[in-house]
Subunit: 228 residues, 2 copies
DNA sequence: CATCGTATGGTACATCGTACTAGTCAAGCG
DNA sequence: CGCTTGACTAGTACGATGTACCATACGATG
């Protein structure tokens, strides 16, 4: 795993120019810096815009240098996703009276964070559960339990909320991404409107109040989950 | 768009051997056949296992021949996804008394179809709405409307159910895919169990009754959505 | 000075999607 | 019949990608 100690017969003739501050304030290339830059790149150029070469360019380093800090590209995705889902404050609300408000707040924050980085939604399905996600699940579990949800229903309740948030975020993000296809989609819908009269009448696909719909649907779900 | 009419100076010396039934019963390579084979390949080798070269091999054709019937690889994904979500019978239940049962049945069928082809779940986020999906939404809309859901709540109800199904399917599929990482995941959870006492105690991540949980959560959601 | 762990990067390769080009074959037409 | 055309099938080649392999360079330690 270490470098070959093969003695170099050639003397290095480097003159130690520019000891620090090479060209563009290059920090020594750390795992965190890689992840941060990867997130920037993903934000700017989308999920296909992240290549190892580009990432190295943005960092001002060689491509293969990344592989010292990171296993492979999958690893970069995993780390980028988890870094975006950071969550604090699960322990702050020790004795809140408003469990419902707490749950809604956490889930809305979750959704907001993912929508701020639309690539994260389409990345989620294939990834494992990072610590930040587990932290959120833990907070959910604790809050619901304290709210009186029966132990037998607890896991179902958690997964239901998780499912709802994931689905809502994913849907919203994918509809956002297709801003280019918006015209085509609308056109196709109008063409086919005769086949789908009900959803055409209710303007299901044209309703843009995503935030409101998310909140209202979440309320419905919590109504169903509420004990008693 | 047509072939060059450049006159061939060389005469073809083909002797018309094997007029039909070339080597392995090769049908003339149609769009449908391409999509069907793509689904087979996706089922067998996963989302990264589908390459145009492999697809052509399985079809016994040249790679570039595919591009006559299909725009590009994205197109193959779109078609494969939609072909998996086929849905019939939306019009059959004209006057069912059990609207709730109808909804549950359609959604469970939806989920089951996607789980039968796990790649479809992780493919959904980036795709547009195909006709089969629209058909299902139409059925949902009609049924809920007839069940007495207020017009103002209709879209929210539909999206809530959609979100729930998408999230549940996606989650289930991703947990299934990580069968290899199951050991690592469980180990990591046990290691970190001190940080997540509540979800560890309720064995959230070890609960394997996905079908039951889906059904129960759906019931909760429908409870919340039920008019009155 | 020799050795080694940490860290960096250039080169090279297999594989991918697909543009370009050249074909084959059947039908239509003079 | 020969010639044209258009539907369809392929081979070749190109640029891009992830990353294995190898060669360094440098500070710390012997």
């Amino acid at each position: 795993m270490a470098a070959k100690p093969r003695g170099a017969s050639k003397r290095s003739q480097r003159t130690k120019l520019q000891p620090v501050q090479e060209a563009s304030s290059e920090s020594p290339l750390s795992r965190d810096r890689i992840v941060a830059t990867a997130v920037e790149l993903l934000d700017a150029r989308g999920i296909d815009g992240l290549t190892m070469r580009r990432l190295a360019d943005c960092l001002g380093s060689g491509v293969m240098s990344l592989y010292w800090h990171v296993d492979n590209k999958e690893d970069v995705f995993d780390l980028a996703l988890d870094s975006v889902l950071e969550y604090r404050g699960s322990l702050d609300i020790v004795e809140s009276q408003d469990w419902r408000g707490d749950v809604v707040h956490m889930l809305e924050d979750w959704r907001a964070r993912m929508l701020r980085h639309p690539w994260s939604a389409s990345l989620l399905p294939r990834r494992a559960l990072g610590p930040n996600i587990l932290g959120r699940l833990e907070m959910l579990s604790k809050t619901l339990s304290r709210a009186g949800v029966a132990d037998a229903d607890l896991n179902v309740a958690i997964w239901s909320l998780w499912n709802y948030v994931m689905g809502a975020t994913l849907t919203r993000a994918s509809f956002d991404l297709s801003d280019d296809d918006r015209a085509a989609g609308q056109q196709r819908l109008t063409i086919l409107s005769e086949h789908y009269p009900t959803i055409e009448r209710s303007r299901l696909l044209l309703d843009n109040d995503w935030d409101g719909a998310f909140r209202k649907g979440l309320d419905f779900l919590l109504d169903g989950l509420s004990p008693g």
